[in-house]
């Protein structure tokens, strides 16, 4: 009987758990360790943050789902990995001794990001002055603060909103873009839009970069860039923008930053939602004697090193599609896999930049829900094959991966909108597609409209269904 441990029940970990439970649950031991007892559909927290959806509608309890698949759930935090002896130490919420040590034959690290608010002084709702939609409680707090701003605008005050990235190396610009767009739409509906100044502040090279180097599509016979498209959308929504900017600190009512040219400045705000940098979760990796061997498994940012080529300069990385991992397996510990945000990418997708002062301002590579789910499935299928046959046959690099991303720009099913972006491959492959984009320009597509709003809402409903392992769940793609 094989023992499979999965750390994390987000898109990657939970998808892996369902596939492994389906294939191995009856005869093998599968254990999931997760910080909470619920699955959270994070993309909908944009709507929680503007008060359009209650948090409970974005979550479901994990235990009943895992019971169906013969998966054991430990609610708690993994604190140490002992790869030489193949066990993980856990701090279980229950305090049960039986849950403290988890021995494994295969380990899937799918722990998602550590939200590095500390990486930017003054960032975040707990010890800082900005809001976040990166956790459920944060999204609820953001909603509360947003409604306070609404109350002030209703009394006639003009308020300044700054939304974007809160660290020079942050990712997840898409979620922040959704948030500022939904704020615009909500304010318009309330008749308060003229009382709000909305500013998009980000570390992207250009508007519409989204950490994927932007997207080019064929539009009315010409090549249109996502920069042009999203700038048009922002112009339409009356949103100002400032890109090529790395936020360095936040004080009450003031955001301090440095831009690509090395100029330093500050931006006043009344309400700010800035995405923090993502690091790996703080887990120790120890050998038999208790010595720290983190560097054997983890990159300096705490993310798990997998079958990627690390250390290539960007100019070389962009020409080396095979630098991106295929099986997401640790080369040092072949029984350890990393899925979703937890694996260390070999570098950024977007063009990096260092200011004359030496500050690196580079949008980090995003791993969306779809990409995380695909990687979770690949890892699960490989682990299942290893258990049954001792070999594995599944793999897909992000330079081969198709992804669809739907950025909500207003959730109304009557007059809302979303930007639907289909991108192939996620990471450009200039060898296979020797064009300006490095992508398949027939498949890569972008459009904006009400259909996207319908699709975004449909995604919420169908994924909440699929991820509870209900009938036909495997037919719904990640």
């Amino acid at each position: 009987m094989a023992r499979i441990a999965i750390l994390g029940a987000g898109f990657a970990g939970h998808t892996a758990a369902l596939h492994l439970g389906h294939r191995l649950g009856k005869h093998h031991q599968i254990t999931v360790v997760n910080r909470t007892d619920k699955f959270s559909f994070i993309p909908s927290w944009v709507w929680v943050g503007v008060g359009h959806m209650p948090l409970r509608k974005t979550q479901f309890p994990l235990a009943p789902v895992y019971r169906k698949f013969n998966i054991r759930l430990i609610v708690g935090k993994a604190t140490e990995i002992h790869p030489d002896e193949r066990y993980v130490l856990v701090e279980p919420d229950s305090g049960a001794e039986a849950d403290r040590r988890l021995d494994y034959d295969y380990l899937i690290v799918a722990t998602g990001p550590k939200l590095d608010f500390e990486g930017t002084p003054g960032l975040g709702p707990e010890n800082g002055y900005t809001e976040s939609i990166c956790t459920g409680p944060h999204a609820e707090h953001a909603r509360g603060r947003y409604l306070e701003e609404i109350a002030r605008m209703e009394k006639g005050e003009t308020r300044r909103f700054v939304i974007g990235t809160g660290h020079p190396g942050a990712t997840c610009q898409g979620a922040a873009f959704e948030y500022i767009s939904n704020i615009h739409k909500d304010l318009k509906k309330r008749g308060l839009r003229d009382k709000a100044d909305l500013l998009w502040l980000s570390n992207e090279q250009a508007v519409g970069d989204f950490g994927v180097r932007g997207v080019h599509v064929k539009h009315k016979g010409t090549l249109l860039s996502s920069r042009e498209f999203i700038e048009a959308a922002m112009h339409e929504y009356g949103i100002r923008w400032q890109v090529q900017t790395g936020v360095t600190s936040v004080e009450p009512g003031v955001i301090r930053w440095e831009n690509f040219e090395g100029a330093k400045g500050e931006t006043p705000f009344d309400f700010a939602m800035l995405i923090p940098r993502f690091l790996g979760q703080p887990m120790k990796v120890l050998d038999r004697d208790g010595a720290d061997i983190s560097s054997e498994l983890l990159a300096p940012n705490g993310l798990v090193k997998v079958d990627a080529k690390y250390g290539l300069p960007y100019d070389e990385l962009i020409k080396t599609p095979e630098a991106w991992p295929e099986t997401y397996r640790s080369p040092r510990y072949p029984e350890i896999f990393a899925a979703g945000i937890a694996f260390a990418p070999p570098g950024p997708i977007s063009v990096p930049h260092t200011t004359p002062n030496g500050l690196a301002i580079t949008a980090a590579a995003p791993r969306t829900g779809m990409v995380s789910g695909i990687i979770g499935r690949i890892v699960a299928l490989n682990v299942a094959e290893l258990v049954k046959k001792g070999t594995m046959s599944h793999g897909e690099r992000m330079t081969e991966m198709y992804a669809a991303c739907i950025a909500s720009m207003g959730d109304s099913l009557w007059d809302g909108a979303a930007a639907t972006i289909m991108i192939y491959p996620v990471v450009p492959d200039f060898r296979r597609y020797p064009n300006e984009e490095g992508r398949d320009l027939f498949v890569t597509h972008m459009e904006m409209g009400l259909a996207g709003a319908w699709m975004k809402r449909m995604l919420h409903t169908t994924f909440m269904y699929k991820l509870q392992g209900r009938f036909g769940w495997r037919l719904i793609p990640e």
């Binding site: 695909i374 897909e396 192939y424 996207g452 319908w454």
Partner: protein, 38 residues
């Protein structure tokens, strides 16, 4: 680039957007089929 009035009408025209909804879903399913091979 700026959105024209025609763009705005198109983006919210219920009939056009219903057709786009169907087309986009089919396009995504077609794209996803590529991933399934992994």
């Amino acid at each position: 680039m700026e959105f024209t009035q025609r763009d705005r009408s198109r983006m919210n025209n219920k009939v056009i957007q219903f057709v786009r909804f169907v087309v986009l879903n089919l396009a995504i399913l077609k794209g996803v089929n590529h991933s399934k091979r992994s």
